[in-house]
Subunit: 273 residues, 2 copies
Amino acid sequence: MNIKRYMIKDTNETELKHLDPDEKGEFKSKEEANAKMEQLKERLIELQDILFAQKKHSLLVILQGMDSSGKDGTVKHIFSGINPQGFMVTSFKKPSLEEEAHEFLWRVHQKTPPKGYIAAFNRSHYEDVLVPRVHGGLKKDDMKRRFRYIRQFEEMMVEEGTTIIKLFLHISKEKQLKKIQERLEDPKKHWKFDASDLQEREYWDQYQEAYEDVFKETSFEKAPWYWIPANHQWYRNYLALAIVVKTLEGLDLSYPKLDTPTPDISELITPRH
Amino acid sequence: MNIKRYMIKDTNETELKHLDPDEKGEFKSKEEANAKMEQLKERLIELQDILFAQKKHSLLVILQGMDSSGKDGTVKHIFSGINPQGFMVTSFKKPSLEEEAHEFLWRVHQKTPPKGYIAAFNRSHYEDVLVPRVHGGLKKDDMKRRFRYIRQFEEMMVEEGTTIIKLFLHISKEKQLKKIQERLEDPKKHWKFDASDLQEREYWDQYQEAYEDVFKETSFEKAPWYWIPANHQWYRNYLALAIVVKTLEGLDLSYPKLDTPTPDISELITPRH
């Protein structure tokens, strides 16, 4: 599994129309992927335990994507099973009045992970460059400034010990429609339906361009963007999990040693007869 | 009153031994200053009212200085009387365990003022470059990085609408001793005495040098440092207040206009017979 293939770099293709949301990688079937997924999940649990014990690094996973691209589902599938004490997830919605009275990084900075923790952002500060790009409201200079703030902010986080992974869940316009239909037809999914998703769908092409801008401006080595083919949920989950695991394996994780000489506790132990 | 004289720029003197903590500016007596201070206080109250109504700008006043230099007293004297609803003050003490698990700007960013507000920091992120400079614990590269983070962070705040004033309360070593004595002798001031202040006093010269570094690295036009002669409390208070008022006067403050045509409410008014 070479995750580098999905990393977006300057030299790579960033035009989304050339990236196939239907891709399934090396797998022939969902079952094949699921078996590997189980192994990866066990590995994630091991790695998180060391991360939490060591309290040296932290991991921030940022999830972005069009409506219905599966951000909630991805969080659920890749992080269920890990120790919830070392994990935090924040969904960034429309800013509150209090949040709007501050610059856009104010609310985001508060939710960054302390050392030892994994944090997931379901949407993020990237909404604050995507939405104005599509719907207007910010001058070109203001947009450039926001991109600069984002780079400086993420660079600081990385230099201070937070590893950042940014995942773009890439679905096709047809797949989105199918998922909206499901939400309308399945009573268990009604709650997920939001009429404004249909409105935003009309701006599909503008959003795709806005994402391409985001990749150009903010995919740097220390905090790279990955594109995740997301038409097949099982491949989306598998790939996102693989990226998280590979990234954690790249850190110098190890259980901390006792920093005092091992005390002799033999006298405290009541011998069993 | 020309506050520029106290602004620390590249071209200015930054060696503290050449700046006189006993200075009293244009005044011959405390009474003369206090009369002017009353006028300034009234002006501050007017300006804060507009700032709060307009919700376009915010003001952050950062107070730094040696122990007993009068940070608490300055906050009390210059901001008492303003509308507390539009004012917030944060004292940054030794970081908690939770705060220590994040980079040093995490706790500071949370306390920045929303639009319309004045915030005062009693100590600040500058402790995170001063203390390691004096007591060790950070490599030279790490210090340089922290200065860069501070510049980038403050620049962002300023560009996004927060005016920043940084005040260094400059007292002499003799004055500090006198204030420590007062704290020991006056039962009403016992609570202010902290034995660790005496320990830190031994590092006086190192702290003075550390502050000189801070001025060199972080006094830029958008967020300048001012040095405040602070041996005379009344001049310290007067000058700090004058800088706050002058700075607010430099903003384009104005009450917002009604954004709807003035409604006719004459019918609602019961005529008085």
